[in-house]
Amino acid sequence: MKKKVISALLASTMIVSLVACGSTGGDSSDASSKGSGTTATSTAGGDDAATAESGSGSGDSAASADWIESSTLEDDAVPGENDDRAFEKFDHVVEVHYGYQIDPKDTTLPDGDSVDNNQYTRYLLDNYNIKVVCDWTAGNTADFQQKVSLAIASASLPDAVIAPTRNYLVQAARADLLADLWPEFNQYASKQVKEIIETTEGRAINNATVDGTFCALPNVSVDTDGVYLYFIRQDWLDKLGLEVPKTVDELGEVAQKFKDAGLSPDYSIAGIDNGGRTYSNFLNSSNNGYGFDAVYQAFNATPGYFLKDDSGELYWGTTTDEMKEALTTLHDWYEKGLINPEVGTTTNGDNANNVKNGTCGIFMGPWWSLGYGNPDSFRNDNNANWQAYPLYTNDGEWNIHMKDVGTTYTMVNKNASDDVKKAIVIMNNVLVRDESTFDTSVAIGWYPLRNTMAATDECEYEYDALMGILKGESSADDYQQGGSKFNGLYKNLANDAATLSEVISSDYDGSRDLAVTDMDVNTNNGQFNRFYALLIGDRPYATLEPDHKIYSELYYTIDGMDTYWTQISDLEDKSVLQFITGAKSLDEWDQFCTDWHVQGGDQILELVKDYLAE
């Protein structure tokens, strides 16, 4: 409990300092920053456009900008209890317009339903009088980015839209298009939401704040999304009588043996699709499925991150000797035909084909890559015993790469009325509270403006709880509402505990590592995927203590950086892939490093240095 109070305090001090920053350090030529600076300190008289239009709504709701701590709030995790604040039904219908990315290949939506008329939107309308209207949709990420970009350029954002990266948030905020969401968020966020925000110790709020204004609901995802492991067919290791590889060299040897034994005729290690990266960088610091992050980490390299050396000097993680070593090894693997020759060029998820059809036994990624990430490989082979392991350095250390708190942001138009802003906060509260109780035979992606918030340790917490049940230390009932171990913050736990026995055989007692043979692939395939990801994919992070947690000094772009960044990120993404495939010889490594620095890297490092010093 004490820890929570401290983190809450941390959050609030952070906000106060940010506000101070915004009002003094604002660029005087930019009228918008002046406006937002004052908004954050005294909301009632603040942003002229937003408050003038909708009258007194926010006046009493946020007299002060101080963070209202979760511990001071009534428990509202159970529907029907203390619903009057964060789950209040509007007395009139409030319309929320939004733009949204949908999946054109989705087949779960019943005929006649649509993006803004489905079971989730009706739930919101019936229970909260919130009527959502979808102004536009896009069918894939690229198109969605294009739509958001055009909406920003034409100053025509709908009431709310999810910014795919922080760059969009910053651009929209700088263009003075976003509302100050602080009063509504502070006032109406549910206790659960506040607890989640507090687990990030101020980072989530910091991320959602641009030039002193808190202008978006930040997405908070589990830390383990950024922890990279390697995955291997344990059944193949057993078949060939091999030990689980610990280091990169051992992994390479095993990959060669898989190939020699004919288990992986094409290649042993799967790679990324076209458009993917071989490592996640500071802007996209998580969820890099099929990247080679685990290999870089095992060479003590942290490419794509801003790091500080022992003397406190800022440097870029890619242009290091360790990185060159890592690439040398990867190139060597590529030459030997261990890595997919098509790495970086396959499209539409074809990079995963051999993992699916059981002819590739090694790949890398975050926890969910098993289960959620490769459902077909179990469907094709019920005994494909994939296991997840950390890859250690030669000194036996496990480095992990810490991700940003979240990457996406629900931005709110500055012209949105206070009711709309409140409605958006409530929609988020409802999602956090009720997501696990929804009938997800209709894909949850149809929930309007779904921008997930999860406690950063959700997976590990669930791992411990579920393993406890499997070991017989507790029962599934303990985790149900009203049970002794119920904790509303871990919103999927009740459902997961209840369905555990549908997937995992009652013979399994937790005394050894869980394997695919202990699980039923077919009965409840959705939960099978989830348990595989949680109990096998996340096992290393839940049970082992990493030796080093490496954070980037910065997780978003700052003023003036974009132009250089566009330039050098192109150079870097392209070159790294070419070093691996041999299209560029590693003899040119030094030249690449020089180019990187000359073509804008040095300027970026300077900018970041100044920014961090402030």
Partner: protein
Amino acid sequence: MIESKSFGSKAFKVINAIILILLAFSCFYPLWYTFCVSISSKAAAEGGLVTVYPIGPNVKSYSLIMGDSAFWNSFWISIKRVVIGTVWTMVVLIMMSYPLAKSKTEYKPRNVLMWILVFCMLFNGGTIPWFITVKNYGMIDTMAALVLAGSVPVFNVLLMMNFFRGIPGDLEEAARVDGAGPWRILWQIVVPCSKPVIATIVLFTSVGYWNEYFQGLVLMNKETNYPLQTYIRQISVQIPVGVTLTAEQYQQLAQNSNKSLEAAKVFIALVPMLIVYPFLQKYFVTGITLGAVKE
């Protein structure tokens, strides 16, 4: 014409025929390949087994498409767009090209108007201003945007104008003597004389409307308003640079890849063109030739 019957000549004939057959094959094969993939089994399509004939032929992809309302919806939008767009464009182009085909003495503003056209062909404000403009007209999500937003196809105006110029002046003069005004001359003399160029431009315009995807992408807010090419692009597009997928997105991507289905959609998108094209082909040779190379 007299033909020499030497060996060299025969050899040339054979080699020439082979070259031409190969060239024609190269143009035909990709379409054939797509068709083969579309009726091959999913496994054969994804395993790269299909070469010159279908493997495990079946119509599963096509029956899947039959029930795909989004696909047919887009297909129908494209058809409507082509029909409305072509009629509109032809009427406007004919009326526009006729005065421009006149000399400066006959129609004074002609040169100025011409330069405006050329200027517009080369300059544009870029995607963003264009989007904002169309949006301000309230045309987002409308058929009007799909028809009009591309603006005047200047190249086709030049083509038609050049063709009109080639029509003998005495025909018009005779009509004028009979008391016909410019409108009657245009519709009763010039247009009937210009069948080839009109057929050509009908072909160009309809194919242009059919193939256009970018406007659909930018100006349509809902997929239910997407024309077919935009729809196809959206299902076959790759993951953009620098995007990381979440677990759910990844799962969707992994489950939905289906090469033969994709090929079937691509092939159906080709069909209307393959049907219309032979009918107009006989005209279009005369059409572009006379439009571009003045006698």
